[in-house]
Amino acid sequence: MNPLLEAVDLRKSFGPTPALDGAGLRVHAGEVVAVMGPSGSGKSTLLHCLAGILQPDSGTVRYRDVELSALGDGPRSELRRTDFGFVFQFGQLVPELSCLENVALPLRLGSVKRREAESRAREWLERLEVADVADKRPGETSGGQGQRVAVARALVTGPRVVFADEPTGALDSLNGERVMQLLVTAAKESNAAVVLVTHEARVAAYSDREVVVRDGKSREMEPAR
């Protein structure tokens, strides 16, 4: 079976500092892949390259047999809006919009009517057990609630791949567990693949397999469970 997303021999430097040095990764539809490694190993850079946010200096990233680096800014933006979803440690929600508006935002950017977009957003908030904060702004919610809103936003467009960069990094263990359960369950139900960057083994335990990044190079591990 062809992978949904495939990165080969990626190299990326920030000034004189190399972040990726020949890293690679394959992600199949519906699977959860954990990218692990110590701080500064290049795992977030790998995720950003996979998502088309960063352009690698060399190497290729193919999504459904399309080379991402060959796409212009417009098609890559559209891909992020329709096929990809993102969950980060913090800061990805727009503080000026309510939680409901935040979740509806990707749909509205895709020209879905406001009423319909908000209705679908409300459903996702309910699925992620945060319907009560729909009208609050992100600044008025707890860390765990905010992350669940972010997961709802990542999944609302029905993405094929969800990129999650340390999604529980700012949460206590109880909240972290709950966010991971909801993320993985919702992704599985939608048949979405999840690329999960983490340095915590208990978070990585939710994945189907693990890839370790060290000094910019990646190495496949045995399935976690």
Partner: protein, 767 residues
């Protein structure tokens, strides 16, 4: 198009949606832009002020006739002006020949004999204790107020009085009001400098408008990066950002308009450099108002889009931004070079006599030079602070912050540097141009002498005037002198003065004098005014009569005379002087009369007492007091414009200060969390306050350097354009630089309460 509107609407939603923080940000942006808009609206009203004044001046211009038209009522009018403690009071005496006589605009009717209309300012002065001494000069019955139609400005001291003695011979015969506008025209150098001054003072305002739209720029970058992350394309993010900026710009337009309308209500109470303006006149010219309404939002949108160009490249702008791109110099010097080149093409184009300069090229050149300052400063600040090391913790904190992000600081002080450069250039050009007109000596001050020149007099009126003066307090001696003009050859006019030996002695140093003597007063500086060859006894001359062509007057023979020196080089009477018996065959009924009054200089308000003494003579007597010598009109114009430009520079600098404060407060607000963390980890608040001061002061010092350099260069180039020697106005530079430096200290002090709040425990709170 629908998508455009929905993106703009989302931008507006983002600008408004952040609760209190968003409203504070919007208020600050509105205040920053609003101050600029208010100034722009004020400036755009100047054309209306001038055109309305011009229209009123034209409306009150009298249409006169040589002789009264038969069967038609006319008005006889005579102009008069008098001074009161340094202020000029002007007006007219009038007599209507019948009920159909034209009525002067601003008044309801022609005043009858002994009646007077007063301007509101003159009425107020006469009613106040300050005007006590003046009341004697206007004994008429006040029958009305001269309204706006008859005045130039609200503070004009103007009267319109009835006088039954006026006739066709003594006054102008007015058949109607409403003539052509007479444009006296300014000196070409002055006109050019005013044009340049307006550009130099208004350009910084646009810079501030641009800077204000970048308030909370990093927050917006993060917000827009988040939008990029969820799939908004670069174009869409630009449109959303444009929507955000538009809201700020419209808020600024609303605040600016409200500020302008509020300040406008008080404009009649303000008198700056003797100039006052009617509320109704201070109305923005419609095309300029539309231009402001369009320009401000466009400027806001363009500035914000240019500012966020890196965010568009990096959807996760906050994730990886290892080292900011080093600024490059080459394109930043392009406007500077264009400005220098533009001004260089105009060298020598403006001279005292002619004006061959292209105002467009000059204004364009100045604009380019001023534009180069906000472009060069970020590069200068980055390179300069990049080299700074060590120092106290407060210094280190400030320097490190500037090394990390110097753009905002450079932009903030950019506006100050632009004002400074414009001010320095203008002040230097004015100082240099003024030296050429001020070099001429001012009239000698003589507090013991008042001269009165009289018109349409008779021997009885002269005797009456002398009697009035002799009775007045502080008057020591009164010397009436009569005079006639004569024509010796074509265009060679001279004058003959007739007076007793006592009177003549007051004007010239006479070795001896008795009736029948004649003298020619001359000095080395003024040999014999108007003549190619000296006057000689026995020469035949023609007496010039006012009402007839000069050459048709009676002939007269120059008598034997003695050459003598004047009593005063500056104010002495020159020319031929004769005693009464030699004037027997002169047409004395056509003679002018002047009265020299010697007064006690120690007496307070002596000039006012003399003016009051001759007040019954009204328009027939003009007094000149040599104790209040005034600079010539051109010198006064230069001084007024120079003062106005300095005042304008100071106002713009204060505007810069207000913008600086708004931006400093926003900076503290935006950096609330790191500041709170620093305070929580033991950094004394004093050190944080000092670091704030250094953070403002270091870029400002660099801005002063750039401002002085560009301003000096601009002064040099402009002086070459107006062909004047280089005179740098160091006093002006000192005042403006000192004000700018003081402003930084004041701004830092005013932002301390905000810093105090930011470093409290609440500052540590996160989402």
């Amino acid at each position: 198009m629908t998508r455009w509107f929905s993106d703009l609407a989302l931008g507006v939603r983002l600008a408004l949606g952040g609760g209190r923080a968003s409203w504070v940000r919007l208020a600050l942006t509105g205040a920053g832009i609003g101050i600029g808009v208010a100034v722009l609206l004020g400036a755009s009203s100047l054309t209306t002020v001038l055109s309305e004044r011009g229209a009123r001046t034209a409306a009150v211009a009298a249409v006169t006739a040589e002789s009264p038209p038969s069967g038609r009522d006319v008005l006889y009018e005579e102009f008069w002006n008098t001074d009161y403690r340094g202020e000029s009071i002007t007006g007219r005496f009038a007599r209507a020949t019948g009920p159909g006589a034209p009525v002067r605009p601003g008044t309801s009717r022609v005043p009858g004999d002994g009646e007077i209309f007063l301007s509101p300012a003159l009425a107020e002065l006469l009613a106040s204790p300050r005007g006590e001494l003046l009341r004697e000069r206007f004994p008429q019955e006040v029958v009305g107020t001269i309204d706006r139609a008859g005045l130039n400005a609200p503070h004009d001291l103007v009267f319109y009085a009835g006088d039954a003695t006026l006739s066709a011979e003594s006054g102008n015969t007015v058949v109607a009001f409403g003539g052509e506008l007479q444009d006296r025209g300014l000196d070409p150098v002055l006109s050019l400098l005013i044009a340049v001054g307006v550009v130099a003072l208004l350009f910084p305002v646009l810079v501030f408008v641009g800077i204000s739209t970048r308030l909370a720029g990093s927050q917006r970058d993060r917000r827009l990066a988040a939008l990029r992350l969820v799939g908004a394309g670069a174009q869409r993010v630009r449109r959303i950002a444009a929507g955000e900026s538009l809201l700020g710009a419209f808020a600024g337009l609303a605040v600016g308009t409200a500020l302008f309308l509020f300040a406008r209500r008080f404009v009649e109470d303000v008198r700056l450099l003797g100039i006052s303006v009617f509320v109704e006149d201070l109305t923005p010219s419609p095309p300029l108002a539309v231009l402001i309404a369009v320009l401000v939002p466009v400027l806001a949108v363009v500035t914000s889009i240019v500012a966020m160009r890196r965010t568009v490249v990096e959807p996760l702008g906050v994730v990886r931004d290892a080292k900011p791109v080093r600024r490059v110099l080459w394109w930043r010097v392009v406007p500077l070079l264009i400005g220098v080149a533009a001004l260089s093409t105009q060298f020598g184009a403006v001279s005292g006599e002619g004006d061959g300069a292209s105002v467009e090229v000059l204004v364009g050149g100045i604009t380019m030079l001023l534009l180069s300052i906000p472009l060069l400063l970020p590069w200068v600040v980055e390179r300069s602070v990049g080299r700074l090391r060590g120092g106290a913790p407060s210094w280190q904190l400030a320097v490190r912050r500037l090394q990390l992000e110097s753009g905002t600081a450079a932009r903030v002080v950019g506006g100050v540097a632009v004002v400074l450069a414009g001010g320095i250039a203008l002040q230097s050009v004015m100082a240099s141009a003024e030296t050429s007109v001020v070099d001429r000596p001012l009239p000698e001050v003589d507090r013991s002498r008042v001269d009165i020149s009289m018109r349409h007099t008779s021997p009885e009126l002269i005797a009456q005037t002398v009697a009035l003066l002799e009775r007045s307090v502080g008057v020591e001696r009164v010397h009436p002198l009569r005079g006639l003009s004569f024509l010796r050859a074509e265009d060679e006019y001279g004058s003959v003065a007739i007076g007793t030996c006592d009177v003549l002695r007051a004007h010239a140093r006479l070795p001896s004098c008795q009736d029948g003597d004649a003298f020619v007063v001359a000095s080395e500086r003024m040999p014999e005014v108007g003549f190619d060859t000296p006057l000689a006894p026995g020469q035949q001359v023609t007496i010039a009569l006012d009402s007839e062509p000069a050459a048709s007057g009676p002939r007269w023979t120059i008598p034997e005379f003695t050459r003598v020196a004047p009593t005063s080089e500056e104010q002495g009477r020159y020319g031929l002087m004769v005693t009464p018996s030699l004037a027997a065959d002169l047409p004395l009924e056509h003679a002018r009369t002047s009265v020299m009054v010697l007064v006690d200089p120690a007496r307070p308000d002596i000039a006012e007492h003399v003016r009051n003494a001759v007040a019954p003579m009204t328009w027939r007597a003009y007094t000149t007091y040599f104790g209040e010598t005034q600079a010539p009109q051109r010198v006064q114009e230069f001084r007024s414009i120079r003062q106005a430009l300095l005042a304008g520079s100071m106002i713009t600098l204060l505007l810069a200060g207000a913008s600086l404060l708004v931006l400093a407060l926003e900076q503290v607000r935006e950096r609330r969390r790191p500041l709170a963390v620093l305070a929580a980890s033991g950094v004394p608040k004093g050190a944080l306050a000092r670091s704030l001061l250094w953070q403002n002061a270091v870029p400002l010092m660099l801005a002063l350097g750039v401002g002085i350099a560009v301003g000096g260069a601009m002064a040099l180039l402009l002086l070459k354009v107006v062909t004047q020697p280089l005179v740098l106005d160091w006093a002006g530079i000192g005042v403006l630089s000192g004000t700018a430096a003081l402003m930084v200290v004041v701004v830092t002090l005013l932002s301390l309460p905000s810093l105090h709040r930011a470093t409290g425990a609440l500052g540590l709170r996160s989402e």
